[in-house]
C-alpha cells in the first residue's frame, strides 16, 4: 500500500509538471484528491490493513496528500504567473508614440511680463491700484505739473475726447487719484493701458501698457528710490544685475533719474540688443515734485515720495525677444501659444 501511495505521488507530480492551464490542474486535483480520487480510494481501503500498520500508512498517506496539495497549489501559481506574463507581453505598446496633451491656454505675454513685475513689488509691500483709461486733462497733466504748453499735450501726441478729457498717456493719473484719496504712507503700483498718438510700426503702438509706482512717506529719500529699484532689478533679472541712475528731466519728479540695468541678454558684455553698451534703459524715476504733492493735498514739508514708471511692452519684447510690437496686439494663436 505504501508503494502504491508513492507511486500515486510520482504519477501526479509528473502530470502536474506538464499541465498548461488551471482546468487541467483541477482535473488532476479531482483525479487524486477528489471524493472519488485515487488517494481517497487508497485511504478508503485502509480498513483492510492490519491495525498496527494503519498509523504508519496513515501518516504516509497524509504526507502524500500534503505533498500533492502543495504541488497543485504551486502549479496553479505557476500557471497564473505564466498567464499574467503572457497577457502583459501581449499588451506591449509603442511607448515612443505621442502622448495626449491636455489643452491648456495661457495669459497674454504682456500679462505674464506684468505679473512678474507685480509679484516683485507686492513682495515689497506695494498694493495694486487701477484707474480709468479715459482720464481728465487735470489728472493726466495739470496735477502732475506738466507745463501748460508742454508738447506732450498736443493733438499730435495725445488723443482727446474733448478739451478736458483724453485717453491717458501714462498711468500716473491713477497715482493722483490715490494721493487725493489716501493719507501717507502710500505704496502703490498702477499697471494699465496707455495711449499716444503714434502710428503703429515695429516699435510704436498707439496703445501700450505701463507700470508705474509711487511711495509717499515721511523722510523718503533718493537713496530709498535707488535701494528699492536696485532690489527690484535684481529680483527681476538676477543677483548680478547692476543699475545705473542717470539724472534726467520729467515734469512730475525733481530730482529725476532714468535707470539703466545690466543687459540681461549679454550680462553687460555688449550685444545687439543693448547696442553694444551693456546697458538697457529700464525705467524713469524720481522724487515726487513738491508741486505734485501739493496739488494732491499732501504737505511737501512733511512728506516726500518717489515714483517710477516703465513700459511693459518694451520689457516683454526684450525679455521674450519679440522684434515687432504689433505682434502683441494681433493675437495670432501661433504667437500666443509660445508663452
Amino acid at each position: 500500500m505504501e508503494e502504491k501511495l508513492k507511486q500515486l505521488q510520482e504519477e501526479a507530480a509528473e502530470m502536474l509538471e506538464k499541465v498548461k492551464d488551471s482546468k487541467e490542474v483541477e482535473n488532476i486535483r479531482v483525479k487524486y484528491l477528489g471524493k472519488k480520487g485515487a488517494l481517497t480510494e487508497v485511504l478508503r481501503s485502509m480498513g483492510s490493513l492490519p491495525k498496527d500498520e494503519r498509523p504508519r500508512v496513515g501518516q504516509v498517506a497524509n504526507e502524500v496528500r500534503e505533498h500533492l496539495e502543495k504541488a497543485i497549489n504551486e502549479t496553479r501559481e505557476r500557471i497564473h504567473e505564466d498567464a499574467l506574463e503572457a497577457r502583459l507581453m501581449k499588451e506591449t505598446i509603442d511607448v515612443t508614440m505621442p502622448g495626449q496633451t491636455p489643452v491648456q491656454g495661457s495669459r497674454h505675454p504682456l500679462t505674464q511680463a506684468l505679473d512678474e513685475l507685480k509679484e516683485v513689488f507686492i513682495g515689497m509691500g506695494f498694493t495694486v491700484v487701477e484707474g480709468p483709461e479715459v482720464e481728465t486733462v487735470s489728472n493726466n497733466f495739470d496735477m502732475l505739473n506738466a507745463p501748460p504748453n508742454h508738447p506732450s499735450r498736443d493733438f499730435s501726441d495725445t488723443f482727446y475726447i474733448d478739451e478736458n478729457t483724453i485717453l491717458r498717456t501714462q498711468t500716473s493719473p491713477v497715482q493722483v487719484r490715490v494721493m487725493k484719496k489716501n493719507k501717507p504712507p502710500i505704496r502703490v503700483i498702477s499697471p494699465g493701458r496707455c495711449f499716444r498718438n503714434d502710428t503703429p510700426d515695429a516699435t510704436h503702438s498707439p496703445m501700450f501698457n505701463q507700470l508705474e509706482g509711487l511711495v509717499v512717506d515721511e523722510k523718503s529719500t533718493l537713496g530709498d528710490l535707488k535701494g528699492s529699484l536696485e532690489i527690484f532689478a535684481k529680483h527681476l533679472f538676477g543677483e548680478n544685475t547692476q543699475t545705473k541712475f542717470r539724472p534726467h528731466y520729467f515734469p512730475f519728479t525733481e530730482p529725476s533719474a532714468e535707470v539703466d540695468v545690466t543687459c540681461f541678454k549679454c550680462q553687460g558684455k555688449g550685444c545687439p540688443m543693448c547696442k553694444g553698451s551693456g546697458w538697457i534703459e529700464m525705467l524713469g524715476s524720481g522724487m515726487v515734485h513738491p508741486n505734485v504733492l501739493r496739488n494732491c493735498g499732501i504737505d511737501p514739508e512733511k512728506y516726500s515720495g518717489w515714483a517710477f514708471g516703465m513700459g511693459i511692452d518694451r520689457i516683454a519684447m526684450q525679455k521674450y525677444g519679440i522684434d515687432d510690437i504689433r505682434l502683441l496686439y494681433e493675437n495670432d494663436l501661433r504667437f500666443l501659444s509660445q508663452f
Binding site: Q104, G105, S106, R107, H108, F121, I122, M124, G125, F126, T127, V128, P132, E133, V134, T136, N139, H150, F155, F159, Y160, I161, D162, T165, P185, R187, R193, N197, P206, M207, K219, T221, L222, G223, D224, K226, G227, S228, K244, F245, R246, P247, H248, Y249, E254, P255, S256, A257, M287, H289, P290, S304, L328, Y329, N331, D332, L333, R334, L336, S337
Partner: protein
C-alpha cells in the same frame, strides 16, 4: 545736439578722452546718444584732379575720366553726373579700404579699366546731414585750392570726435556749445573760459540814424540791432564750414554761416537783414494784422494772424519774429550792408505761430523752448567780432538795444538739511555751495541756509527741489548710498476683485483659452459688423477728436467685434482651432456719477472659440466651469432667439441669481460673413465682467464625506422634443426629495425607436441619507412620485 569735441575744448580744458567725457556727462545728466569718430578710416583717400572726361564707348550712363594724383595719371570709370574737367575730388586707390568695408580693386566696366574710385559722401561714410546739398547723390567736389595728392582728411578735416547729446526740454541753455562747456566744466571740475569778445567799431554811431521800436511788448522782450557796412558776401572759411558741418548745419555763405556759428556757440538765433531794404533803418516789432499776407524767404506766401509777432519797418513786414525772415529783406550776393537782429521773443507765441504756420525752423524750435534775453547783446557782439575778424564787413559804432523789462534773476534760500534729507546724503554746506557755483549758480551762506541766485539762462530753477537736483546730479547719483524704505511695514497685495480676476484668468487658461489683448479704440462700423440694432445704446460712442484713422476713432462699447477680428485673423491664417478670451474695459458715453464726469468704463469678458470640435456646448462647458470656479451660484440659461449677433436657435442668455450676466451662442452666419468667414462656425460668450467679479466668491467649506451608501436610479423619459431639459430638471429638483444628492443627464436620443417628434432623455440620480442607510423601497417611492409629476406636467413617459 551735436557737439564737436575740439570746439568744446576751446571753452573748457578737458583732459580726458572723448569716451570717458561722454560717460561722465551722461552721469551728470547730459545723456549721450552717440559718440561719433568722424573720418576714421579715411586716411588713404587722397585728392585727385579730373583732367579729361570722355564718354564710355560702350555704355551710355558711364564716362571715362583721366585723373591725376600727384604725378600719376589714372583711368577711372564712373557713373557720377556732377563732375567736370578740372574738379578736385576725393580718390580711393587700389587697396584702399573704405569705412563701408569695400576694398578698392582695379576693375573693368564694359571693357574699360577703372583704377580706383571717385568717392561719394556716402562711400566716405559721411552722414547725409553733413553733406552739402549739391554733392548729395554725386561725388564730393573739393575746394579748388586743395593740393593734389594730399590726404582728403587734411583738405576737409572732418576727422573729429562729435558727441550727440539728448537735451531735455527744461534745459534750452544746453542747446549750445558754450552751454555744454558749462556742463562739462561742472562735471569734470575744470574752469570754464567763455569766448573773449573784443570789437573794433568803425565810423560814426549809426544808432542815431536807425531805430528800434517794440510795439508788441508781449511778443518781444528784447531787441538788439547792430549795423555792418562794406559787406562782402562770399563763402565762409573752411574751418568754419567744417565746424558747421560737424554740428549738423549746412554752410551757405559767410554772413549766414557766422550767424549760425554764433547760434551753435552761444545758443542765440540771429537774423541778418539787408539794411538797404529797411525803410529809414527803423525796425518796428509789432503784432501782425489778422489776415496779413507775407512771403517768407523760402518763397511761400503765408497768411498771418494777430497772435503773431512781426518784424517790420514803417511800410513793410520784414520777418515773422523768431520763425523766419522775409524774402524781400533777405541778404543776397549784392548786399553791402546788413542789420543784424539778436532778439528775444515770447516762447508760447513762437510755438503757436510755428504750429499754425506749419513752419518749424532752427530758430523757432529754440525760441519756443525759452531763451535767455541776456544773451542778445553778447551774441550780437560775438557775431560782429567774427564778421570783423573774417573781413566780412565793417562794424558800425553804436548798438540799438530795446529791453523794456530786464529779466530778474530768481533768488531764494535753500535748506542744507532739506537737501540731504531728500537726497539721502550727508553733504556739508560748503560742498553744496561749491557744486552750485560750478554751475554758475550764485550761492552764499545765509545763517543756516544757502542763498542761491539762478543765472538768467536757468529759468528751470524755480524752487528748492530744483536746486537740490542740481546738487544731486553734479555730486553724482551714483555716489548716493542705496537704502531701504523706512517707516511702517506695509502689507501689499491684490484686492479681492483683483484676486478674482487672477482666478478667472487661471480658470480660463485651464480651459484651453488664450488671453488676447486688443485696442480699446475701434471703428464705428464695428457695431454694424456684429449687427447691433440702430437704437442700441452701444452705438453711442465716446469719440476721439484726433484719431489716427477711422478704424481707431471711437472707444469700444463691446469687445465682441475685437474678438471676431482675432478669430477671423486666425482662421484666415489657417489656424485650425482656437480658444480665446479678453477681459477689458468698454466705454459708454453715459457719465460716471463722480466729480470727474468721465465716461462710464465697464469691465467686459468675451470668450471666443472656433474649430471642428467646438460647438455651443463646448463653449457652454467653459462658461459653466468658469462660473462654478468663481463661486457663482443660481445660474440659469434661457434660450434667446432675438439677439442679432447670434444664431437664433443657438443662443442663450445667462442669469446668475436672477441678474443678467451675459449672452452666449453661435455667431450668426451674417456676422461671420462680415468678417469674411464663410463656412467656419464660431462661438462667443459676452459676460458682464463687473458683475461677475462682484458676485464671485470663493470660500470653500468642508462637507462631511458620506458615511452611508447611496442608491442610484436611472430614469429614461420619452417626451416631446420641444421640451427643454431645463423643465425636466426643475421638476427633478422640486420633487426629488431631500435624499436626492445629485443627478446627471447622460443620454439624449432621437430616432426611429421612439417615434417622430419625440426624444428620449436619460438621467442618473443618486440618493443618499446622511444618517442612515436608505432602503430600496423608500427610494422607489420617491422615484414613482417624481415620474408621476413628470407625466403630469410634461407628458413624459418612461421609456420601455
Amino acid at each position: 545736439m551735436l557737439v564737436p569735441v575740439k570746439w568744446l575744448k576751446e571753452y573748457v580744458d578737458i583732459n580726458i578722452n572723448t569716451d570717458e567725457l561722454a560717460d561722465q556727462m551722461t552721469m551728470s545728466g547730459s545723456k549721450v546718444e552717440e559718440v561719433r569718430h568722424w573720418g576714421e578710416g579715411l586716411d588713404e583717400v587722397i585728392v585727385g584732379r579730373i583732367e579729361k572726361i570722355t564718354p564710355h564707348p560702350r555704355a551710355d550712363k558711364l564716362v571715362v575720366a583721366k585723373v591725376t594724383i600727384g604725378g600719376k595719371e589714372l583711368q577711372i570709370v564712373t557713373g557720377a553726373e556732377n563732375i567736370h574737367e578740372g574738379d578736385k575730388i576725393p580718390m580711393a586707390l587700389e587697396g584702399t579700404e573704405l569705412p563701408n568695408g569695400v576694398i578698392i580693386e582695379e576693375t573693368f566696366f564694359r571693357g574699360e579699366a577703372s583704377q580706383g574710385m571717385m568717392c561719394s559722401p556716402d562711400e566716405l561714410g559721411i552722414p547725409k546731414h553733413m553733406v552739402p546739398e549739391e554733392f548729395k547723390g554725386g561725388i564730393w567736389i573739393l575746394d579748388p585750392d586743395s593740393e593734389i595728392g594730399k590726404p582728403f582728411t587734411e583738405v576737409l578735416p572732418l576727422v573729429e570726435d562729435v558727441i550727440e547729446f539728448e537735451i531735455t526740454s527744461n534745459r534750452p541753455d544746453c542747446l549750445s556749445v558754450l552751454g555744454m562747456a558749462r556742463e562739462a566744466a561742472a562735471t569734470t571740475g575744470m574752469e570754464l573760459s567763455p569766448p573773449q569778445i573784443k570789437l573794433k567799431e568803425e565810423g560814426i554811431d549809426w544808432s542815431n540814424d536807425g531805430a528800434v521800436s517794440i510795439e508788441d511788448e508781449d511778443g518781444c522782450y528784447r531787441y538788439v540791432a547792430r549795423r555792418i557796412s562794406d559787406v562782402k558776401i562770399e563763402p565762409s572759411p573752411q574751418w568754419m564750414q567744417q565746424r558747421l558741418i560737424q554740428a549738423g548745419v549746412r554752410p551757405i555763405s559767410n554772413v549766414v554761416d557766422i550767424t549760425n556759428y554764433v547760434m551753435l556757440e552761444i545758443g542765440q538765433p540771429l537774423h541778418a537783414f539787408d539794411a538797404e531794404k529797411i525803410v529809414d533803418q527803423h525796425i518796428i516789432v509789432r503784432q501782425a494784422k489778422e489776415g496779413e499776407a507775407f512771403k517768407t524767404l523760402d518763397g511761400v506766401e503765408r497768411k498771418l494772424t494777430s497772435n503773431m509777432t512781426l518784424i517790420a519797418d514803417a511800410e513793410n513786414a520784414l520777418g515773422i519774429a523768431g520763425v523766419m525772415g522775409g524774402e524781400e529783406s533777405e541778404i543776397t550776393d549784392q548786399t553791402t550792408s546788413i542789420i543784424l537782429e539778436s532778439a528775444n521773443f515770447n516762447q508760447d507765441r513762437i510755438r503757436k505761430t510755428s504750429q499754425e504756420l506749419g513752419l518749424r525752423t532752427e530758430a523757432s524750435s529754440r525760441f519756443e523752448k525759452g531763451m535767455d534775453p541776456e544773451l542778445c547783446l553778447l551774441a550780437a557782439n560775438r557775431a560782429c567780432q567774427l564778421i570783423e575778424e573774417l573781413g566780412t564787413g565793417k562794424i558800425n559804432a553804436g548798438v540799438l538795444d530795446q529791453y523794456p523789462k530786464p529779466a530778474k534773476c530768481f533768488q531764494m534760500e535753500i535748506r542744507p538739511e532739506k537737501v540731504n534729507g531728500l537726497l539721502g546724503t550727508d553733504l556739508s554746506t560748503d560742498e553744496m555751495i561749491d557744486i552750485l557755483n560750478s554751475l554758475e549758480i550764485k550761492a552764499e551762506k545765509s545763517q543756516e541756509n544757502i542763498m542761491v541766485t539762478a543765472p538768467s539762462f536757468r529759468k528751470d530753477l524755480q524752487q528748492e527741489a530744483d536746486f537740490i537736483e542740481e546738487i544731486g546730479r553734479i555730486y553724482g547719483f551714483d555716489k548716493i548710498t542705496p537704502t531701504l524704505m523706512k517707516g511702517d511695514i506695509m502689507v501689499g497685495g491684490l484686492s479681492e476683485r483683483q484676486k478674482m480676476e487672477e482666478r478667472l484668468k487661471d480658470t480660463l487658461a485651464a480651459c484651453g483659452c488664450f488671453e488676447s489683448l486688443t485696442y480699446s479704440f475701434v471703428s464705428p462700423s464695428s457695431v454694424d459688423a456684429i449687427r447691433l440694432p440702430k437704437d442700441s445704446f452701444k452705438r453711442d460712442f465716446v469719440k476721439l477728436l484726433n484719431p489716427l484713422g477711422d478704424e481707431t476713432s471711437v472707444m469700444r462699447t463691446s469687445i465682441l467685434p475685437n474678438m471676431m477680428e482675432v478669430i477671423a485673423r486666425n482662421i484666415h491664417r489657417n489656424v485650425p482651432t482656437g480658444r480665446f478670451y479678453e477681459i477689458g474695459h468698454v466705454f459708454y458715453s453715459e457719465l460716471e456719477e463722480t466729480a470727474d464726469e468721465l465716461p462710464m468704463e465697464v469691465t467686459e469678458l468675451v470668450i471666443g472659440i472656433f474649430g471642428k470640435d467646438e460647438d455651443f456646448f463646448t463653449l457652454k462647458g467653459i462658461v459653466q466651469h468658469l462660473l462654478e470656479k468663481m463661486g457663482i451660484k443660481q445660474i440659469s440659461y434661457e434660450a434667446e432667439t432675438n439677439h442679432p449677433s447670434y444664431h437664433p436657435g443657438r443662443c442663450a442668455t445667462v442669469y446668475a441669481d436672477g441678474k443678467l450676466l451675459g449672452t452666449m451662442g453661435e455667431i450668426h452666419p451674417i456676422v461671420g460673413k462680415n468678417y469674411d468667414l464663410d463656412k467656419d462656425r464660431c462661438y462667443a460668450a459676452e459676460i458682464n465682467g463687473n458683475l461677475l467679479l462682484e458676485m464671485a466668491s470663493v470660500k470653500p467649506l468642508y462637507q462631511t464625506l458620506p458615511r452611508y451608501p447611496s442608491i442610484v436610479r436611472d430614469l429614461a423619459l420619452v417626451l416631446e422634443e420641444s421640451v427643454p431639459v431645463k423643465s425636466i430638471e426643475e421638476i427633478i429638483c422640486e420633487y426629488g426629495g431631500d435624499w436626492l444628492e445629485s443627478f446627471e443627464l447622460f443620454d439624449v436620443y432621437q430616432g426611429n425607436q421612439i417615434g417622430e417628434g419625440l426624444k428620449s432623455v436619460a438621467y442618473t440620480m443618486t440618493f443618499r441619507h446622511t444618517e442612515r442607510t436608505l432602503k430600496d423601497s423608500e427610494v422607489d417611492q420617491v422615484v414613482q412620485r417624481l415620474v408621476k409629476e413628470l407625466q403630469k406636467q410634461l407628458k413624459a413617459k418612461l421609456r420601455e
